[in-house]
Assembly symmetry: C2
Homo-oligomer: 254 residues x 2
Amino acid sequence: MDSGAVILDLNQLRRSCASCALHELCLPAGIYGDDLRQLDAAIRDKRTLERGATLYRDGDAFRALYVVRSGSLKTFLQNEAGDLQILAFHLPGEILGFDALASNQHVSQAEALEHSSICELPYARLMQVSNEVPALHRQLMRVISREMVAEHRHLVMMGRQPAQERLAIFLQNLVDRYAHLSRDDISLTLSMSRYDIANYLGLVVETVSRLFTRMQETGVLEVNRKSVRILRPDLLAELCSTQHPVPMKRHDHD
Amino acid sequence: MDSGAVILDLNQLRRSCASCALHELCLPAGIYGDDLRQLDAAIRDKRTLERGATLYRDGDAFRALYVVRSGSLKTFLQNEAGDLQILAFHLPGEILGFDALASNQHVSQAEALEHSSICELPYARLMQVSNEVPALHRQLMRVISREMVAEHRHLVMMGRQPAQERLAIFLQNLVDRYAHLSRDDISLTLSMSRYDIANYLGLVVETVSRLFTRMQETGVLEVNRKSVRILRPDLLAELCSTQHPVPMKRHDHD
DNA sequence: ACCGGCAGTTGACCTCGGTCAATTGAATGC
DNA sequence: GCATTCAATTGACCGAGGTCAACTGCCGGT
């Protein structure tokens, strides 16, 4: 690598990864000292996106991975017919863009749900640094793998859970992820619309609306537009797993 | 790396990756010559599994990735209640086990659907080789990414498609993957049970059965137990996308 | 401060696919 | 070769959640 990139002044360092409040969550977890410094050098740009702005779209050439610094985004797939399926919501500290590694172009679209700021990790630079810092490669794969595991959970929800469980799991998941960001763990501000939530859960907006109403009526939570306050975290947790009246087991056939 | 592993005799080489009929599909795509030789050395074991045998289960320590040489496997998630969701079917040339990278232990279960043979890629060895052969790291990430993309398609199916489309997409997908393995492209032997198919698609077995019957009645295919012959690939392709009577578009809200 | 538009809610109705139950038939064991 | 078993099919019924439509109330713009 060119030595110019490795030698950093304190100023640059302060503005970027090493001082990022989220650096534990983002890539360099497990990477310290000089390695971190190198990684830091690979992060070229910080961008901000307005609500509704597109970070990348289906077909775009793959240049970089992106870390959410603040705000939130959704990624989704859209077919020819215009049908769309939201794949994930991305909160601060999380990384987007892995789906483009396979074909060198993005196969999904990423859009900001609110005013957000993003770190760009140019992939070519990332690979250069990785060659010097083997730990980075492994860390990258760990992060991709974590994303796969999250998608597995999403899949189970879609395949097996009834509507109310889906919403409960969704909310619980948001609570967990925001708690991780050391926020108040019982109140949420939903940056996504009811349409987005419904779509993500494989439901329609009316169903989501009714479920919010029902959960409010049963005292689980208090909801007012985008703000949700969990009143009974215990009840919410219960709702996350189907309480089969008859404990109907799913087969375990060959 | 220890030099003993790099020096291979022709015999060993012939038995393994370099001569594997599927080597284009599996890991070393884009890796040649000495690099391939090194990779080959990292592949320790070939195992065979009987139908129903478990390759790894939830909680197992992560030691290796696995390549299917012949036969087929399913991977699935199973929760405390015994509910289970099949995540994927794995055909020859495909790689399993990436979900374990995140936590260093498997978080799903893999089971053979029929007599199968498997290449084991010990992860530690793989990482050693990768440090010498940067291309391998990138290729590995490409493969994980490809798997993620496939899972996205699965997700869309679960979230948006009605039952018949799901089965059509499933069959089309199998046809494509087997065509890739240069088999007869209009007849399939389903190694998985109807229960497995139903589960994978988020349906119940009765629905799958009815759909097979209907597709047979409409002349799309001929089905007899595990064997399926696609009579009208064109019709099958049509069934893969919902033909909205009214071309109802899914919203594209903020 | 009023208006327009769209996010969100609510209600009435209907449909797709799930549930339950009976039957068929292919494989495996004695 | 017959019985047992379980995968698969078929039919009758039902209900969770989708569809359609009407309404409410925020929010943003001028």
